[in-house]
């Protein structure tokens, strides 16, 4: 079947099987930042944004993305403050989980521009980093929040 959607800002039609997951189809499209890891939607390494909400690509049927807006880190602008903040805060080690954290952070900051550390921790509950870079990841999200707010944050 062919599924029409907006992928990283472009209108595309993706060929897929009716029972194929979005993760497999995006990887076939060359979007290798979306990474098969746990297969059951608990680790967050295949996180993509669907209409701005973080979704596990391994749990969502590709067919259900029809007519929706799907974003991966390949689609982010090089000026985007969130990936930049991850670089500045050294918020990664092996880098495997990083795209999923960045997208989850973008969704969080869109909902809550000034999250506390506890709120960040809660939002990141579905993203695992086995290297254990969480301290820097939380710092990166605070840094991105400050950048987005022009330095004027409550917390």
């Amino acid at each position: 079947m062919n599924v029409a959607l907006e992928l990283n800002g472009r209108s595309v039609g993706l060929e897929c099987e009716p029972d194929e997951m979005l993760l497999a189809v995006l990887r076939r499209e060359g979007l290798r930042s979306v990474r098969a890891t746990c297969g059951i939607g608990v680790c967050g390494a295949c996180t993509v944004l669907v209409d701005g909400e973080p979704v596990s690509g391994c749990l969502m049927l590709a067919a259900l993305s029809a007519g929706r807006r799907v974003t991966t880190v390949e689609g982010l602008s090089s000026a985007d403050p969130v990936p930049r903040a991850f670089v500045e805060a050294h918020a990664y080690q092996c880098g495997w989980c990083t795209p999923g954290f960045i997208l989850t952070a973008k969704a969080l900051l869109a909902d809550n521009p000034d999250p506390s550390e506890a709120e960040i921790g809660e939002a990141l509950g579905g993203n695992l980093c086995r290297c254990g870079s969480y301290v820097e990841i939380v710092a990166a999200i605070r840094r991105a929040a400050a950048e987005l707010a022009g330095g004027a944050l409550r917390q």
């Binding site: 990474r35 990936p83 092996c94 086995r130």
Partner: protein, 693 residues
Amino acid sequence: MSASGLDARVTGQLRYAVDAERPGMLHAAFVRSPHAHARVVSIDATAVGADCVALTGEDVADLRRYGCQVRDEHVLAAVARHVGDVVAAVAAPTPRAAREAADRVEVRYEELPAVYDPVEAVEPGAPLLHPDGAHSAGEAVSIGVRPLAGTNACHRFRLVHGDVAAGFGDAEVVVQRAYRTPSAAHAPMEPHAAVAEWEDERLTIWTGTQTPFNLRADLAVAFGLDEERIRIVGGTMGGSFGAKTFVRQEAVLAALARKAGRPVKVVLDRAEEFVTLNRHPSVIRVRLGARRDGSLVAKELDCWVDTGAYADCGPGVATKLGYAGVGPYRIPHVRVDALAIYTNLPPNGAYRGYGAMQSIWASERTMDVLAAEVDLSPLELRRRNLLRDGDRFATGEVMHDVQFERCLQAAADAVDYERDPRGKGLCVLLKGMQTPSRAAISVQRAPVGYVIHTAATEMGQGMRRSLQLLGAELLGCEPGQIEIAAPDTDTSPYDTRTTSSRTTHMMGRALEEAVRDLRTNSNERGYGEIRNEGGLDPDSGQGIASTHWHQGAAAARVTVDEETGKLTVDHLHGVAYAGRIVNPEGAALQNEGALLMGLGTTLFEAIEFADGQVANANLSDYNLPATGDLPTRFTHEIIEREGADVHGLGETVLPPVPAAIGNALFSLGLDVAELPISAERVLAAVDARRERS
């Protein structure tokens, strides 16, 4: 870096072994034994389909046994020795077709008696895993392996220092305790993956591995090839922690590609990861004798180290576990007996800490038990016995650049231990580095700077950044002007392996030599090589265990809900001695990562088995620490000393975490001897305290 100038980790441009592709490649799926111990009676692969290739026993009849320390592994198992042992494999045009075809392979088994516990496995009458005596010392590679003939012990490491019987005769106080640790998953986010291709009878494998040259050597044995006819190309790994060492998926894959006549790729799924390589479960009995004033006089350690169905590096792990368990103390009389034991569990191998965590947990918990017996503060008991510069360790080595007291004091101060030790615990440790070993590197002039060729591998630990920073300092250029070429056994100079936190220490010094060579000989290319000589005699434990020591400590402050057993870590602090820090951000990340892995080990990580079958082979039932698991206070420090060598620090603060937290519980009268420290075990300790009082 990518086109946008941002690090490839944030743009998604970083490529891993799972991304490797070759023209015309097929995809592999493995047929795995559902039994823990069973002889393969027959395999019927006729139903796999015309576009598939099946690999069965007769296809590998010409291949030999291999193994990094004991040659006991087969490319395909004719006798499955653990659930998940690979008995056949299939290649097909897509991963899905391969999986479906593998499921159509019919295997008949004859079940054999199995054993799952290392203590039971060395009792008389236990089923033998390798009855043909595959584990002869003559076949051993890289360390002196001492199998016990006719038993499941593939290695026995003994350390004898002084006269332990006389020592216990002098002791005024003796404590004896036993401790257990479970199996655990490395759980790198990236699974094991590789592509194998034969061309002109030459084998190339693109894979995520910490051990390119060891992998090449082992495959050369298996396939009966000269090492030069095998090429291993590595890349960045999405984490490893010891999981991607020696031969894992590569041997079957190479045999399958040989039969298919085409490149073949494999990516393991998450459940397969749990039967590929895990951490050694252990049982450790400690007997510790002291004078009333707290001076240690004698120590005995008996260790049952479960290496699973195949030895892998189990002999090395049992050895390091054995001497690390002595601890950083002056003890005149010591005896260690550590057995690496086959059981019908999946193979266990290198796991961040390499056995040190298991024996340090046992040993450092026992120190606090002794402290209570002699009525001393656990801090003071340790201080009175710590090794100091010029002291001899139990291996006979004279210790230099000794920082144990500094590390311990820093840990104690972080939790204000001396003001009030209740609810707080400490642990101090010594851990060795791979000895002997060799590290070679080359540096070449390039149009925009330099290219470094090294077989050191990147798995997130920051090897590339550290070598760029060291290189920039030595060459007088910017770190970004130094390119680190991917590890490739055809073009990288030899390196023993990227393990035991040795790379910055060993490669850093090799790089100094290479830069000197580049300058003095005004060459286009400079070459440097560092060797560290030594090793321990496996029968006496005497010799050179390590040419430099990893030194560290941890402190924990906890509270316990005695109604529910919930244990809260209010503060965890780790201290590592770095000598000199090369990459400050990377060092902090490694220290925090090791602490957090230690926290998971302490509180909840354990692979559960039912008749040898993994009962929690997924990341929902096997929990990894998440952001919300960070202790309320989570701090660390890295100690430097003017003029010191660069010390590795990738593992140092993982091993002390369980004992620091266990000792914090012990300060509240709660005595837990088995990891992980679950709510059930805390409640049992609460009940036991009630019964005692």
